[in-house]
Symmetry: C2
Subunit: 290 residues, 2 copies
């Protein structure tokens, strides 16, 4: 074991296939390979597959028909969420030996429902490590990405205890902190704690761009707020669309808060501004002690 | 010289008074003291003054009547912007020997106008190092805070070239990058690149709080977006009020951008979402190359 928490338990599988070798899939493949797991992999980008082979992260590339999946104990889908459902249907015929089929997408209801429809529910446990950032792709993948990260697990209806335990063990072995949550509840929560900050950062970026202000004119604080604006379109558009209803509610709540602040400015309401800054600081500091 | 850029020029003053020893004033006092400048100081918080004395950062505390300012070549106001104007009036009778009177506030029009009214214009150059973050107070002050930071200089009408050169030299000696800009233009720009991100971060914090999500439930990206929400109320309410008109325009622009995103979600407009994420990423990456 060359990475991860020194006291992390071993991962109890000897082979895994990772489909999609971007920030999350690539990092996962690196972690598993570093623990002696035989990893096979695939990616839509040929140069990524070549790099993963050349670096010894994957032992072999998967064929386009995915037939090598028959040898994998664990199959991980790490592609944009709108590609996952179709991919799951394509791999199902080859996955009869897998003890765990999982994914790493930011929305979970659609993929979990698809696994149930496809008859994979007993072995499907959706996964979502809260470890993304504004970087993306194989070049951004790295060891250590999952250390101390929350990893949500969303078992399909009828998922076996062994599959859930294997999924939890997978993330725990990488230093992450797994937590089981129903897929619908996951998506509702993530609309607020992940997807809303992403869209707020992008909207702020465009408001600044429209007004003629480049990111280089921002200070440290402004750069923090807009860091997520550099995230991947191919990842985020599908996530936003899959979680559109709850995310629209979250956006409306943020608009209301901003309008409240704007009104306070327009009427010079010092007390309202003090209350906003006091409350936002209290929220920040409560978190710091957790 | 024990800190700062190895090629930074020396600061050409032997004595300075810093009023307000928070994040900015405290850091400035530390930098000047580390360069052999005799620094005197004051702060509304007695424990802060005691700490600054005990750590040898300030050589002496200023009396309540500020009479010791008569010995200072440079006087720096580093208090909340709503306190600066009154403070400037109080110190004016004692500042006849100062070659430079400056400040470090995030809004510049009001303090520059006050300096002109008080007859201090020839020696007043407003300052604003873009080096703040969500931390505040003496405990957060540190050496190195200003390295590579933009430092805006807003000379009063009639400011002498020597005063402007001394202000520029002050910031350059600390490794910062000074740039002269008219006070009004400064305030309009900062409404967008600094004050808007601050308010967006606070509004997002309150939207999350209202929906029952603690900061600890956020991932790395969400923590970035909400980091500024922990900022100081006593600093930010006065800044927001002084810059209310332009800041209200900036907030309205952000609200419009968020409503546009919300509509795209509500009607499932994939192209509109792609366009937002592509454009925000392009804005992020253009900045990275500057």
């Amino acid at each position: 074991v060359t990475a991860g928490h020194p006291h992390a338990p071993a991962f109890l599988a000897r082979s895994a296939a990772v489909i999609g070798l971007g920030l999350i899939g690539g990092s996962l493949a690196r972690e598993l390979a570093a623990r002696g797991v035989r990893v096979t992999g695939a990616d839509a980008d040929e140069a990524t597959v070549a790099a993963a082979l050349a670096e010894g992260v994957i032992a072999a590339a998967l064929s386009p028909d995915l037939r090598e999946l028959r040898d994998a104990e664990v199959i991980v889908l790490a592609v944009p969420v709108d590609a996952s459902v179709e991919l799951l249907a394509r791999l199902a015929p080859h996955a009869h030996r897998a003890r765990l089929i999982t994914d790493a997408g930011s929305t979970k209801a659609a993929i979990v429902a698809a696994a149930e429809r496809l008859g994979l529910g007993a072995r499907f446990v959706g996964g979502h490590p809260l470890a993304g950032d504004h970087r993306s792709g194989w070049a951004a993948s790295r060891l250590g990405l999952f250390a101390r990260a929350r990893a949500y697990l969303c078992p399909a209806a009828g998922a076996g205890a062994a599959a859930v335990a294997l999924a939890a063990g997978l993330w725990r072995s990488l230093g992450a902190d797994p937590a089981v949550v129903p897929a619908d509840a996951h998506d509702r929560q993530l609309a607020w704690v992940s997807h809303l900050p992403q869209l707020a950062s992008a909207a702020l970026a465009l408001a600044l761009r429209d007004a003629g202000h480049p990111r280089a004119s921002l200070g440290r604080g402004g750069r923090d707020v807009t860091r997520l604006a550099g995230s991947s379109t191919s990842m985020w558009t599908p996530v936003a669309l899959e979680n559109a209803a709850e995310l629209a509610r979250a956006l409306a709540a943020l608009e209301t808060r901003l309008a409240h602040l704007r009104t306070a400015l327009e009427i010079g309401d010092r007390r309202a501004l003090d209350a906003v800054f006091d409350a936002s600081r209290a929220w920040s500091e409560a978190a710091a002690s957790v």
